[in-house]
């Protein structure tokens, strides 16, 4: 029986969510196509992870090796290409994460098997593979077909599918590591944790999030005043940190923090999924953006299609009026 592989992603002792999200989709595909779902787990001393994962798939292919202790695309590529050549799965799913982005493209090129990255959906028709992905910062969806092949590789966007719940009692199959030596050209040195201190935006009840639409650093006091009026703090999307206008502890999104305030006001944020993933669970989301098609409006409760510089001063005044009225 043909297999569908899910590459388990784990870091610093924890299986990452994307693994369980891919399992949801993998299970659905396996059932539809009558294939067998197998989780591929690489690491050192990861039997506990193997046990956990065996509750989610029929098979866990476990390869343990001290050379696989930390993620290293060179070693991972060697092991996976060995495994893919040997077992010829129709499909291998890898997370579109810092880990998968470092691994999947060169793995696909080395085996010359078609790869589509950052997919939000996929389906198997006969033995052809169709994927759905996004372009232009989420403003357009694309349906694409992969070149017909015996084996495909897909990286899956984070938080696209719900996490799979444990429902199986799968088998753990230990496979000897094909690695004979340490990676020759790439070496993992260490993790660097974000520096402590600064403002903890995850603890704030009100966040005013700013994006590209803020245009210039000189406009920061204006939005800071609004945040102050609301008793909240400023947060931001990636471009603001890249420009050095706010420190990176204020960044909301996949490479920053996940927040869940009572109120999130998004100003000039288009709503790329990287940002949205970090704030979509806020209790109330109000978004101001000039572009009526900005993806932020599909997560916001209230939307305002207008220049933020027209709205912010009026809003700040209204808030102070209300507060004065109360006092």
């Amino acid at each position: 029986m043909k297999e569908i592989f899910i590459l388990a992603e784990h870091r610093r002792g924890e299986i990452r969510d994307i693994t369980f999200e891919m399992l949801t989709k993998g299970k659905e595909l396996a059932e539809k196509t009558n294939m067998e779902l197998a989780v591929v787990l690489l690491g050192k001393d990861v039997k506990e992870h193997a046990k956990t994962l065996s509750q989610h798939a029929k098979k866990v292919l476990l390869i343990e090796d001290e050379k696989l202790e930390n993620f290293n695309s060179e070693s991972y590529q060697k092991v996976l290409s060995h495994l893919i050549k040997e077992r010829k799965p129709l499909l291998t799913l890898i997370g579109h994460t810092s880990f998968g982005m470092d691994l999947a493209p060169s793995l696909a090129a080395s085996l010359n098997i078609p790869l589509a990255t950052d997919c939000i959906d996929l389906e198997i028709e006969d033995s052809a593979l169709m994927v759905t992905r996004q372009m232009y910062g989420g403003k357009v969806n694309v349906k694409a077909r992969l070149r017909q092949a015996e084996s495909y590789l897909v990286t899956v966007r984070q938080a696209t599918f719900p996490a799979e719940k444990a429902s199986m009692n799968g088998e753990i199959i230990e496979i000897p590591s094909p690695l004979s030596e340490e990676a020759a050209n790439k070496r993992f040195i260490e993790y660097v944790l974000p520096p402590p201190g600064g403002v903890d935006i995850t603890a704030a009840e009100v966040l005013v999030g700013i994006g590209r639409g803020i245009k210039d650093e000189s406009n920061l006091p204006l939005v800071e005043d609004l945040a102050k009026a609301l008793g909240g703090v400023l947060a931001c999307s990636r471009p603001i940190v890249d420009k050095g206008w706010l420190p990176n502890d204020r960044q909301v999104g996949t490479s920053g923090k996940t927040v869940k305030p009572k109120l999130y006001i998004a100003l000039g944020i288009s709503g790329a999924f990287q940002h949205v993933l970090g704030m979509k669970n806020s209790d109330l989301i109000i978004a101001v953006n000039k572009d009526p098609n900005a993806p932020i409006f599909s997560v916001a409760d209230y939307g305002i299609v207008e220049d933020l510089f027209k709205i912010v001063p009026s809003l700040k005044d209204k808030i102070y009026e209300l507060k004065a009225g109360k006092a």
């Binding site: 060169s106 696909a108 940190v241």
Partner: protein, 262 residues
């Protein structure tokens, strides 16, 4: 240190209104402003900074039509020494894999210590070209790089992981590094600088000069074939508030008041 930087000329779409064209396979390009891919801008700046510190050369390479010259000129103005444009009508329809193959042919005989690409492109966002190129060249790579230290034939780099975490890895040179935004602050390029760069030559190479065959490029040489573009279905749509700014502000204030947020 000789550094090659692969760049892409892309439409700026963050604040633009995007329309799907009549073929349904691409967007309407008319009216959009094209510029260097944001990630590539940081990559070029990083390369120029390394050159300024250690000496050597910076060469920028793109796959694209004549329109892409403006992006190459910008790179030259920023401090790149040479520019190469790989162009052929047959390249049309190439995906990241085919683009990497085209770049590989152009690069394999050039002297280099490092190759930079942007971590991804703002238009299609595949994040594939850099690591595939590394594989074709048989050299190591590191993606999403936020800091680079070079010493003794090794690049020690910080890679951006999730949730504010980074990792440090070392790769042997020559290597491909894909550059993440925020690694530096790209310098301002003056109109004068761009004018000066107008005089510099842009070398153009086509399919035959690169020794590529038709089935290696375009749709035939690609892994991915786009079938159709469509506007993402809206699962949830915000309730839109309208009126004058004052009226809108009053409506927001009411909502906040009703929720006890003010």
């Amino acid at each position: 240190m000789d550094i090659l930087v692969c760049v892409k000329h892309v439409p700026e779409t963050a604040e633009a209104d995007i329309k799907i064209d009549s073929t349904g396979k691409t967007i309407e390009k008319a009216g959009l402003v094209f510029d260097i891919n944001e990630w590539d801008d940081y990559a070029v700046e990083e390369a120029v900074r390394i050159k300024e510190k250690l000496g050597g050369t910076v060469t920028v390479i793109t796959v694209g039509s004549e329109d892409a010259n403006s992006t190459l000129r910008k790179c030259l103005a920023r401090g790149a020494d040479k520019a190469i444009r790989l162009s052929d009508p047959k390249f049309e329809g190439s995906d990241s894999y085919a683009i990497a193959k085209i770049l590989h042919k152009a690069i394999k005989d050039l002297p280099f210590d490092l190759i930079f690409t942007g971590a991804q492109a703002g238009d299609d966002g595949y994040a594939m070209v850099g690591p595939i190129l590394a594989q074709l060249l048989g050299i190591p790579h590191a993606t999403m790089v936020k800091k680079i230290e070079l010493k003794n034939g090794v690049a020690r780099v910080n890679r951006e992981l999730e949730g504010g975490l980074e990792e440090i890895v070392e790769v042997k040179l020559p290597a491909v590094l894909t550059i993440q935004t925020g690694i530096n602050e790209p310098r301002y390029v003056s109109i004068m600088g761009i004018r000066k760069a107008m005089k510099k030559e842009i070398k153009v190479l086509g399919m035959t000069e690169l020794g590529l065959s038709e089935n290696e490029v375009g749709e035939a040489g690609s892994w991915i074939k786009i079938e159709k573009l469509y506007v993402p279905p809206v699962e949830k749509q915000a309730e839109f508030l309208d009126g004058t700014p004052e009226e809108i502000a009053a409506k927001i204030a009411e909502i906040l008041k009703a929720r006890g947020l003010v």
